[in-house]
């Protein structure tokens, strides 16, 4: 077996896998090459394995940070148990994690109409930093921001108060909302 003399670019392989190649001719050209070339086929295999691993993580609820509405919809369609707490600015919501939950998500509502991107700061007891997300673009003026935590991680947390602050990350920083999650530790099974 020889090393490929004309390897398909990584970006093209990725576009092929994601069904983003511009036209059928391009798809055919890539497929013809993949079937004769072990090197490029192996590179695509590595990329596909990575993708399969990411899907496995999501299906096990092992995703933390900001997620999108489409991602949540797909998770729920796949049978993941997503515990969703919706908060409006100034609201305090009691929360916990229950048996069978895979993912805990806080849906933060705010007026995003005048902002391009936002930052989210989460602080725990004694104003200690818990999580911080900077410069995240927002797409919908009337939307929500979804902050996710694996249920397995939430189960390990003691009862605590989490303060979340959402602010615009544009040139002029403006607070969009403060929210409080009153977390009650889950009771271990008897």
């Amino acid at each position: 077996m020889t090393t490929c003399q004309d390897p398909i670019a990584d970006g093209t392989l990725l576009d092929y896998w994601a069904r983003d190649l511009a036209d059928d001719d391009e798809v055919n050209r890539v497929e013809e090459h993949l079937f004769v070339c072990g090197d490029c086929s192996a590179r695509l295999h590595a990329m596909a394995s990575l993708g399969a691993g990411l899907s496995t993580l999501v299906r096990q609820g092992r995703v933390a940070g900001i997620v999108s509405r489409a991602l949540l919809n797909r998770m729920q369609r796949d049978g993941l148990h997503v515990r969703l707490y919706t908060l409006t600015p100034g609201e305090t919501v009691p929360c916990s994690v229950f048996p069978g939950d895979d993912l805990v998500v806080a849906a933060l509502r705010a007026d995003f109409s005048a902002v391009q991107s936002v930052s989210l700061s989460v602080r725990g007891p004694g104003d200690s930093p818990f999580s911080r997300i900077d410069n995240l673009p927002v797409s919908r003026p009337d939307g929500e921001l979804f902050w996710a935590m694996p249920a397995a991680a939430a189960r390990q947390m003691p009862s605590m108060r989490l303060e979340l602050t959402l602010a615009s990350a544009d040139a002029v920083r403006a607070e969009l909302g403060k929210y409080v999650l009153e977390h009650t530790a889950s009771t271990p099974p008897a």
Partner: protein, 190 residues
Amino acid sequence: MHTFVDSSDGDLARAVTARGAPRTGEAESELYRRFAPRIRLYGLRYLRNEDAALDLVQQVMLVTIEKLRRGAVRDVDQIASFVLGVSRTMVKDQKRLEWRREKLRETFMLPDTVAAPAGDAALDVDRLEQCLARLADRERIVVLLTFYAERTAGDVAKELGIKEGNVRVIRHRAVERLRMCMTSGEAAQS
């Protein structure tokens, strides 16, 4: 001693066609070893299901080897194109079948089952989880929407309110960072 490992695809196909010749079985095994991973990837790309992709491998290789044995492949030097052609036909048939199954599911609300692809079981998902956590939030959402939710760059662009070209750039960078993290042991050290 000559082994089929170094033979061209055409020579391999010729060896399978030469019925009664010594070591035909060896040539068939090498042909299978070489093409099975490529057919599986092709199946995953179109069917997005590991079991269906593995079924496709069996069916395509069966047809290919039978046709070669009967001398029914016109140009053995183009065996890769032949295998690709058979794969295309069979995927079309399977998609038609899947479409019918989907209609049945919609009608009778059969529960969906979700399983991790067995073919990628070797991937260290614990490490991948750490690597995923190291990505910027936007990168993480883009790769999850691409690989898990199976969204095209155009879909992701609409979802996140950014340009399609930007999605491709972010996706490419994120995959590269994941790949580097997985191979360098960066995550394991943290």
